[in-house]
């Protein structure tokens, strides 16, 4: 009887451990993580990347809807192909990177979740803060859970899982007080974002 109880208790513990959410760190050691932005301008669309991505996401492969976490982007990591334009972008009149060193996205919940195999499609509902202004946003995302794939990206023996997050969204710079109502004939108000980031969860 004792053995049976012990077995049941062990099984319950194993199941509960197996079902525990995994914490993924989005500070990628390979420097792949970036959010690309695109906005139309007078001569050609201005494209750039924000590479200073970090943050943690708690993801349960058995219950993707319970995903929570935050993604942080270092404002100073935003870059376009022209260094003078980059200076303007980070300067006082645009993002004011000195006073607003981070752009953050706080994931509140995943809605409209559809999971097939290791891929989850959902609407990420959360709070996006840019230049000190916080807005509620909904971003359609695709989460791909890659169990035991960390070793392939890093070094042999480095066991762990990966979580790839992809998404696309559009925001208006005027909503975040970035040159609101100004220079819209030269630089569009609408900014298209393409997110493709990976988080890792080493197994100890």
């Amino acid at each position: 009887m004792k053995i049976t109880r012990l077995f049941v208790a062990s099984l319950a513990l194993a199941i509960s451990l197996g079902a525990a959410p995994i914490s993924f760190d989005f500070k990628d050691p390979k420097g792949v993580n970036a959010i690309q932005f695109l906005l139309d301008s007078l001569l050609e669309p201005i494209s750039g990347t924000a590479s200073g991505v970090s943050g943690k996401v708690s993801f349960d492969p058995e219950a993707p809807a319970a995903t929570t976490g935050n993604i942080i982007v270092t404002t100073a990591s935003l870059k376009v192909g022209n260094s003078t334009m980059t200076e303007h972008l980070l300067g006082d009149s645009w993002l004011n990177a000195a006073a607003n060193p981070q752009i953050t996205f706080e994931l509140v919940k995943l809605d409209n979740v559809r999971t097939a195999d290791t891929t989850t499609m959902a609407d990420a509902i959360g709070k996006l803060t840019i230049k000190g202004v916080t807005k509620d946003v909904t971003v359609p995302v695709k989460l791909t859970y890659l169990p035991d794939a960390l070793e392939k990206r890093t070094k042999p023996g480095n066991k762990g899982d990966l979580l790839v997050v992809r998404g696309e969204s559009t925001l208006l710079r005027s909503d975040y007080g970035i040159q609101a109502g100004k220079n819209e004939d030269k630089v569009a108000n609408e900014i298209k974002l393409t997110i493709a980031i990976v988080g890792s969860a080493p197994k100890t």
């Binding site: 301008s41 001569l43 192909g81 022209n82 790839v164 992809r166």
Partner: protein, 101 residues
């Protein structure tokens, strides 16, 4: 009967000023040609000038496409425009100087 003017009687400055004028015009012409050739050879970029160009790469495991910036000067149309404007200004100066004299 004709007389040949002596060296002291000939106008001293006219020919030298004309030579400088021609030289400046040639310089403006050569500079504009060089500028256009440089812009065309660098890729005839009809967008803004870039000093770093994005190079796309793919992470094999995750399939994530990411961008790495490489230092590379690519003149744009504003570079060409400003350069050609300066060449035209240099060319125009020679006429202004003549009128002033």
């Amino acid at each position: 009967m004709t007389t040949t003017p002596s060296a002291s009687e000939s106008p001293p400055s006219t020919s030298s000023v004309a030579a400088w004028r021609v030289l400046l015009r040639m310089l403006a012409g050569i500079a504009s040609l060089f500028l256009f050739a440089f812009w065309a050879a660098a890729g005839a970029n009809r967008g803004w000038t870039k000093d770093q160009i994005p190079v796309k790469q793919i992470d094999e495991v995750t399939g994530i496409e990411f961008v790495v910036y490489k230092d590379h000067f690519m003149p744009g149309v504003e570079f060409l425009g400003v350069g050609l404007f300066l060449c035209i200004a240099l060319f125009a100066v020679t006429f202004i100087c003549r009128k002033a004299r």
